[in-house]
Symmetry: C2
Subunit: 201 residues, 2 copies
């Protein structure tokens, strides 16, 4: 323990550094902020973390974050149960929900295939997706894994896995983001956007 | 409460957004991370915030962060009590301590003068500094407020305030950071570094 940063503050800094995208300097700044801020405000954050860990879990069907065993999307009678959109993480599901562009159900894989890191199909929730398709009623599986090597490999694996079931398997479009100047797009995105071109009618 | 982001996670996101430098996207990412991470790890962070708020306070003399009424620096008999270095925030004190370049005592102002925002001398701990000097034994007050308009105004105010006491008042040097290429320094820093030039012997 150094004289100037008491142990408790050093400990808080260490815990903050574990968060993604938070380096040593930022963690120190946040720790000092929490030290200086209103006690109520800091304790609300602490309680909020605790509650998330103690009361939230995952939907047993799609693995979306949920307070109940089935999430509100899976329980919603208005959702189209014939369409399952596959994502790597709950945060992607959340982003798509916020866009309002999809009214079916989801399937969260919790990762993507990465043989080099020893992540195989049974480490992500691929077979659970197969079971859902096998149970019937699914017309289309829309793959929204990330446009990375792992995401692509996962998309290919799922496509092959679902072939015997005769469901339609599609992949969301990757291309130039709306509002972006084309000249600033990276090469891979440009290639993807040309590959994914659509005929104008 | 939206179907896809349960209330508890939305609440955590809101609490995280209050932290400095954490925007909506980052807060969401952190909330999802805390949801997914090991329960023990997340609870350690929650406990750590709580402990900092419940057990840490400020040194009654210099306002450094401390678990006791006097901080370890003020209590340390080896520190030079004739020299007081004045900073705006405890985090600056911490950075200077880590550098090992100062062996005297500190005085944390908790802010800087900003008349436009209604921050006057009694809102920062200027008069407490005056009392410390008035109590005697202080030879030099070194001002390390930030090189901003407010920091400069504070330095000027303190210099005038302490004039009647006959103590030496100095300001730390501002200039080109060590290791920085001079051509990349901003104009104000260049001007400061030229103003603060020292004769080579």
């Amino acid at each position: 323990m150094s004289a100037q940063q008491p142990g408790l503050l050093a400990r808080l800094t260490r815990e903050l550094v574990r968060l993604p995208g938070i380096g040593q300097k930022t963690a120190q700044r946040l720790a000092f902020h929490l030290m200086k801020t209103e006690k109520d405000e800091a304790l609300r954050l602490a309680d909020s973390i605790r509650e998330v860990k103690e009361r939230l879990s995952f939907c047993t069907q799609c693995r979306n974050i949920s307070e109940e065993s089935l999430c509100e999307i899976c329980l919603d009678p208005k959702r189209d149960k014939g369409r399952i959109l596959v994502v790597e993480e709950p945060s992607t599901l959340h982003a798509i929900e916020q866009s309002g562009g999809f009214k079916g159900l989801y399937h969260v894989l919790f990762g993507s295939l990465s043989p080099l890191d020893g992540v195989g199909p049974s480490d992500i929730r691929a077979h659970e997706l197969e079971s859902r398709v096998n149970a019937g009623g699914v017309e289309e599986v829309i793959i929204a894994t990330n446009p990375t090597i792992e995401g692509e490999a996962t998309a290919i694996y799922i496509t092959k896995m679902l072939k015997p079931y005769g469901v339609r398997v599609s992949r969301i479009a990757y291309g130039i983001p709306v509002g972006m100047d084309i000249e600033y797009a990276d090469e891979v995105t440009l290639i993807k956007s040309i590959e994914g071109r659509r005929e104008l009618s």
